[in-house]
Subunit: 392 residues, 2 copies
């Protein structure tokens, strides 16, 4: 039988990252994005799960409501307000199956095929593919020092038709590692308001700051229901449990709840109970402090190695947090050739064009990750990258 796929799905190409990772099974994984294995609160999870299954097994195994386990929703609503200053009386929060689901639900609720989404250039590949799969037109706005280029952003808002939202990771962006300045956050908010479009503020890495000062969330300025704020427990508890949340105007969240019901009914109860009890019964602040220590060490190790081995071949800015370093190979170096040769030599890095709205545009960047490889892997991996660069 010949299959006629939907417009959005038919347009999708296989993920460059997936292909590179597939062909690089035993390489040092500078291309990855997994949390460090020693960053998981294993003992907390063990204790919580044993306790839940002993004292409340039916709660953990029975259907839950789509909005999420009510005490977890209440706790997240409180913490979002207290810690990040986000959420008003007009807003509502629901639990989702990882922050990826927020993108999916927002597209489900707002995107008709052909509608436009404005993305930072570069942007998270999982977001770009999600948007493409809904048939959205992607329009990239270059990231500069401190965030998107505001002139180009306004130009796109003025000229593109049916722009539904602006997608941004303001803290330690994936892949660029950069953080949006307070001034740009305010300016982006004002432009979204002026042109009547939403902002999807995706904040999976916000707690992973290793230097500098925290910047208020865009959602914290939002008194008009413009910002859809997405949070994740993948980087501070564990990605394998798939728990995140979305906080937005109640009218939007009501539609996202209906959409979530049609996607997966609800997020697994055991996953939700792990997060709830971790937040309310464990010393989660101490655990986050421990993770930040781990990533401070690994971020600085990767950057020190790059400075020692690769400084004549590329430029980059040391990020203040997150999991990634985004580096521009000098003109004249063939970026894709470098990535392929690195892979053959035993180190995987991600070619930067994977993160562009137009994946065929010229690109000199590569993304390197420091959370997945061991410290020894980072040292050895960058040494090999140096040899590859010198050999080209």
């Amino acid at each position: 039988m010949e299959y006629k796929f939907s417009e959005g799905i038919a347009s999708l190409k296989p993920s460059v990252i997936r292909e590179i990772l597939k062909s690089s099974g035993n390489t040092i994984p500078l291309a990855a994005g997994n949390p460090a294995p020693d960053a998981f609160p294993i003992d907390d999870v063990k204790k919580i799960v044993a306790d839940v299954l002993e004292n409340d097994p039916i709660l953990a195994l029975q259907y839950g409501i789509t909005e999420g386990y009510a005490p977890l929703v209440a706790e997240l609503t409180k913490l979002s307000k207290e810690h990040y200053g986000v959420g008003t009386d007009d807003d509502k929060l629901i639990v989702v199956s990882g922050a990826q689901q927020v993108m999916s639900l927002l597209c489900h609720c707002f995107i008709n095929s052909g509608d436009c989404i404005i993305c930072e250039e570069p942007a998270f590949i999982g977001a770009l593919n999600c948007f493409r799969s809904h048939g959205a037109k992607l329009v990239g706005v270059p990231l500069e020092e401190g965030g998107m280029n505001l002139e180009i952003l306004e130009e796109k808002l003025k000229t593109e038709k049916n722009v539904k939202f602006i997608y941004t990771i303001p803290n330690f962006q994936n892949p660029a590692g950069s953080t949006m300045s307070l001034e740009k956050r305010k300016a982006v908010y004002e432009l979204a308001k002026k042109y009547g479009v939403l902002i999807l503020e995706d904040n999976p890495y916000g707690d992973l700051r290793v230097s500098g000062q925290a910047v208020p969330a865009i959602k914290s300025f939002d008194d008009e229901g413009i910002v859809v704020y997405s949070g994740s427990f993948s980087k501070i508890v564990a990605p394998g449990i798939r728990v995140g949340f979305v906080l937005a105007n109640a009218e939007i969240v009501a539609k996202m709840t209906v959409a979530k019901q049609t996607q997966d009914v609800h997020t697994p109860m055991l996953s939700q109970l792990i997060v709830y009890k971790w937040l309310t019964e464990c010393d989660y602040k101490a655990h986050i402090a421990k993770i930040v220590d781990i990533y401070t060490r690994k971020l600085n190790l990767l950057c020190d190695c790059i400075d020692a081995e690769l400084s004549s071949f590329l430029t980059y800015q040391r990020p203040e947090g997150g999991l990634f370093v985004w580096a521009k190979l000098n003109d004249g170096i063939d970026m894709l050739g470098f990535c392929k040769k690195a892979s053959s030599a035993g180190v995987s890095v991600v070619p930067g064009n994977a993160f562009l709205a137009d994946g065929d545009a010229p690109c000199q960047y590569i993304r390197m990750n420091f959370s997945t490889p061991s410290d020894e892997g980072i040292i050895k991996g960058v040494k090999i990258l140096g040899e590859v660069a010198r050999s080209l």
Copy 2:
């Protein structure tokens, strides 16, 4: 800000079931569909989870691949072939976050707004809402003795434009409780082949047979990649862990994998490991036999009570399995009025029009569930329904 929702989402009405359940907090839940609390393998799950978190915590907490935990995929592929005769060399199986996600992924992969989906009439409300949320046009084909009316099915396949698939629950259908005969399964398959449309064969209740003989799956005839087969562990392990699977032609499953990656990346690892170890290390056949015993008792109890209390007010067929009884109130009884009065009197049942492609069409049916209420609840609930019927 004024929100412009997508066509599909904007068209959705709030679920009738949800509204009834909301307004019936303390009623006897004949409207529900949850497994019986004593049908969960609590001790197995406790043992499995303790073992996994002790011996392989990183596997349980780290990112997994979108296709699902490879040993679980292999085990499900093997069991599907051995127990149900489904799956060929051209097929592929992936793990999903509950069978609801199969509907969502299939729509994501095939439905452009305005495309048509043919449904049994009545059909599962969660499926109807999923299809509506993607902007699909729903066309209902009446269920009769032994399955859909084949003349009307062919008429619709001939006249409707852009029919993408036929949706069916062949075993113990929700809500109708009926099972499609072997002859109709073959005829539906041949019609789908003739008109070049897919079949979504949803089989969440297949293992819950309390009488009669098992009928081969439609997928077992499929040598052309027409049937997308959906399985679930919600009714035989637990719905709260959200694990199901889809088995279909590899080309379709490749696209569904990409779509799943954009929806939730992967199904939680702990949930997958529970199912994997339950299938490979526990006496799961004994557990299913125990569940079937529970539901045999409860199905017969509900039907015996209906026969005693309600036989002059409605007609129905005793189902051979599943979780539901679908009953037609006699002409002259106001169906919605009956449901509302029952709710006020302390018993919730679902008005049948919730399950129609056109929810405003006249309908004399109600759906009753026997898995969620206690045995005492069933006895008392039907007694109250009898009083309500006599009072009308």
